[in-house]
Symmetry: C2
Subunit: 230 residues, 2 copies
């Protein structure tokens, strides 16, 4: 077996009895008719159940709607893309020449699909328990908190209310570009934290981006009683 596949199996913590399944999980349709899409279909469902189980265990108080939102955010393309990078999938993908030249090896959608396909392959190779154990490790570093997947402005507002702090203030600090293709830059100010900024194609999108950065900061560092960078 190729040394890359050996390393991938070590990173997965699973040795395939049927290594051809793993090879197929890394094969894009541009490379061969024996590609990963059916494994991706299966892996999507494996991931859905593994993540749902994790959330039900770790968020014992949350209602169904909140669990659904959290699940959606954990299985989104950007989350799977991050997992694919951690697994080193870019170097292992089997792509057709055209796809390769056009940057397919770095494309988030292909990498996310391949990560799901790897999980589907693992499920076929060794059953749900084995696949679930691997998926658990993928989310080990992710904080599974109430409000996960909620839009960032709502989550930030709720976080501040829970900590009895005043609501955040958003302010457009710049608008770049022509009228038909503007980028908004918004600052989010919260008492007790350095302001954050966000950009987006609309004022609302920029506010969400700024709120997300603020929320990340607060989850990591909490609030100080004074502004950190006055």
């Amino acid at each position: 077996m190729a040394p890359g596949l050996e390393a991938l199996q070590r990173r997965l913590g699973h040795r395939f009895r049927q290594p051809d399944l793993l090879v197929r999980a890394l094969t894009h349709r541009s490379y061969s008719a024996d590609h990963y899409e059916r494994l991706e279909f299966l892996g999507d469902a494996v991931l859905g159940l593994a993540v749902s189980t994790l959330l039900v265990e770790r968020l014992p108080q949350q209602a169904e709607g909140e669990l659904s939102r959290a699940r959606a955010s954990l299985v989104r393309q950007d989350a799977l893309h991050r997992i694919a990078l951690d697994l080193g999938l870019p170097a292992l993908l089997r792509l057709g020449e055209g796809e390769q030249r056009s940057g397919g090896r770095e494309r988030a959608s292909i990498l996310a699909d391949a990560a799901e396909a790897v999980l589907g392959a693992l499920y076929l190779d060794a059953g749900f328990e084995a696949a679930q154990a691997v998926a658990r490790r993928w989310y080990e570093g992710v904080e599974l908190r109430p409000g996960l997947g909620k839009d960032a402005k709502t989550a930030l507002q709720e976080w501040l209310q829970a900590h009895r702090r005043p609501l955040p203030v958003y302010e457009v600090v710049a608008i770049h570009g022509e009228a038909h293709a503007q980028t908004f830059e918004v600052a989010c100010r919260v008492e007790g934290a350095a302001p954050t900024t966000g950009r987006g194609a609309s004022r609302r999108a920029a506010e969400q981006a700024a709120a997300a950065v603020m929320l990340d900061h607060l989850h990591t560092h909490g609030l100080s009683s004074r502004v950190l960078q006055p």
Copy 2:
């Protein structure tokens, strides 16, 4: 344990080690705060994986898009409602008085949710393999054919093309009701089969209904070389 729950466990083919999970799966939020919604969240994912596995096994030639369409049709509310009726859930639901009076015991959405919750309870009680075995039996009578979940007109057209027969002909045979609330009645004619009819709020909906009846007929009886009822 109540005799109804004994009977349900026989129909499921599973005896709960934690019967309180089964009771919760049958409890609507109008009855108690300890209701089925988190189990339904989990059961939805269990069902998704169980059905995906079934489809990958039984439809070895189908592409991912077709598997997804088929999965969607198998986990739709009407499919789950049928399963809930087979399990006898209406008599076992625990509903608040108001919900009961307004016909909640027969409501398709509640019954479908409870069926998912039962599967979620089973998964927590005994693991994925046990839940999957039960879900397999739920779909034993369902024909898992290529084209499942595709809209009926497309599926009918493809079926006829595969059998080298002329395309179907649709004809509006009646329009009932006032201009703002019409019901269309459409006939679907296929060479070698008796015509079928369908009704709907639009011509397209009526055509879909007529095509679905025709497709059912053809799947069961095939084509004769002559029209059955000339």
